[in-house]
């Protein structure tokens, strides 16, 4: 694409971000978001065995329309840099250890968010021989986002429950 076309596209498009709508999320009883995470939370995502529907919505939540960055959330490349671990999908046999390792590698205080119906009761994958259990069986989930797949608004609401912005 030529420079002038790119420039005209940028000026034509302007800002795409829309105001957020409220969406229901389930917060663990007694969960208090850590004080130091106010206004800033780095997110590491783990796909423990999802169908990738949740990942597409998570990608949309960080895209121009929903823009989770305006609430202080940012995706990072290493669990060591993260404050929030988001998990999507059922936990497959092969992903039990990587999931637990990722959570262990995240410095305290950390928050665990589970995304999608799969993470509660395994959804359509329940009973499969490849499935070791749901996220709740392996870690204490602080915030749960319902839906299959959940709307980006709900993912944003979950992140805002941590950053409180």
């Amino acid at each position: 694409m030529s420079l002038t076309r790119l420039l005209s596209m940028i000026t034509r498009t302007g800002t795409m971000t829309e105001p957020v709508a409220d969406a229901p999320i389930e917060i663990r009883e007694g969960f208090v978001p850590p004080a130091c995470l106010r206004g800033s939370a780095q997110v590491r995502h783990v796909d423990a065995g999802s169908c990738n529907g949740c990942e597409i919505e998570l990608g949309a939540a960080f895209g121009p329309v929903y823009d989770a960055e305006r609430f202080g959330a940012r995706l990072v490349a290493s669990p060591r840099h993260a404050d929030v671990v988001t998990v999507a999908g059922v936990v497959t046999q092969n992903m039990v250890e990587p999931l637990l390792n990722t959570i262990d590698a995240t410095p305290n205080p950390r928050v665990i968010i589970s995304i999608g119906d799969c993470t509660r009761g395994c959804g359509v994958f329940a009973g499969s021989y490849a499935v070791a259990g749901s996220v709740d069986d392996f870690a204490e989930v602080d915030v749960h986002v319902t839906g299959c797949p959940p709307a980006p608004e709900a993912i944003i609401a979950a992140l805002r429950a941590v950053t409180r912005r």
């Binding site: 420079l3 971000t17 130091c36 206004g39 202080g72 940012r74 995706l75």
Partner: protein, 314 residues
């Protein structure tokens, strides 16, 4: 003596205060051009303050390098900010502001980062370190040569004196020597601070990382020092470049009015340069790794031409 202390304190406070804002400006400019709102210009402040509040998590069996390298990087960046004429060109009493001292302090931070990358023993860390050292080996000679070219008319290699003589004698600003040297310096600053097209600071792909690959294993407070330290390097190098390119209103002594004007002027210059850098980055893709040495060799040629030309012009 008192003047020097005042200038150093002003430099440090200025650098510490402005650096996260600069990063915030760069991220916001990028976000706006991408059609997003972005986190706002104080978001980097929130990020580092949060990192300092978190416990560092170090892998069992890791050596003290994991603890010390971030502090060494931060310390070297602070020394860099104190020595570089960001706000005032007052020659510091008892502290050498020579070009060679500044470059070696820069190198100290680079080595700390490279050691940290090797420390974890992961493939990506070592890869990041080796790439970083390759870039450094190509970047340092260019820094030396391009500033050396600018030092010829000033007759000294002390950075403060070079900036001062350029401010007082505006005829040295617009000539081939100066333009070539500044162009070389801009490429070098981009490479040294890991911006596009040399390194992508927002990448999530380990194979394309340079700077990020080295800090993958640090978390919490350690990461806070690393982030702040590398941001300070950006401020210092960008500040040096803008003050060499447009040296107006840089303070010449340690009087309050001069310092105030200097702080205001440098803030404006730095914010403008950072916004410009971020805007240009939107239009660039990361270069293939094997093309980066060509870019850096090109900047070395510019610096070399500038040194050669300085013997013809002056």
């Amino acid at each position: 003596m008192i003047d020097s202390v005042v200038v150093i304190v002003v430099h440090l406070v200025f650098a510490l205060a402005i650096t996260p804002v600069l990063i915030g400006v760069m991220r916001t400019v990028r976000a706006r051009l991408e059609g997003r709102v972005g986190g706002g210009i104080v978001q980097p402040w929130r990020d580092v303050l949060k990192l300092f509040a978190k416990e560092p998590l170090r892998a069992p069996g890791s050596s003290p390098v994991l603890t010390w390298a971030p502090l060494l990087l931060m310390a070297s960046s602070l020394v860099l900010c104190a020595l570089i004429p960001l706000v005032s060109t007052l020659p510091l009493a008892g502290v050498p502001g020579e070009l060679f001292v500044v470059v070696s302090v820069l190198l100290l931070g680079t080595v700390a980062l490279a050691m940290l990358g090797l420390e974890a023993g992961t493939a990506f860390g070592g890869m990041g370190s080796s790439r970083h050292m390759v870039f450094t080996a190509l970047v340092e000679p260019t820094v030396l040569l391009s500033i050396y070219a600018l030092s010829v008319p000033a007759g000294t290699s002390a950075l403060a004196a070079i900036v001062r003589s350029r401010r007082d004698d505006l005829s040295t600003l617009l000539n081939p020597v100066s333009i070539l040297a500044i162009a070389a310096l801009i490429v070098v600053v981009i490479a040294e601070t890991g911006r596009l097209p040399v390194d992508n600071p927002a990448t999530h792909l380990e194979l394309t990382m340079v700077h990020e690959a080295m800090i993958l294993e640090s978390g919490g407070r350690d990461l806070g020092w690393l982030e702040f330290g590398s941001w300070l390097r950006l401020t210092a190098l960008l500040g040096l470049t803008v003050n060499l390119a447009v040296p107006w209103a840089v303070a010449g002594d340690a009087s309050w009015t001069a310092l105030l004007v200097g702080v205001a002027a440098t803030t404006v210059k730095l914010v403008a340069a950072a916004a410009l850098l971020a805007a240009v980055e939107v239009f660039l893709a990361k270069l293939r790794l094997f093309r980066v040495p060509e870019l850096l060799a090109g900047s070395f040629v510019l610096a070399f031409l500038s040194v050669s030309a300085s013997y013809l012009v002056f």
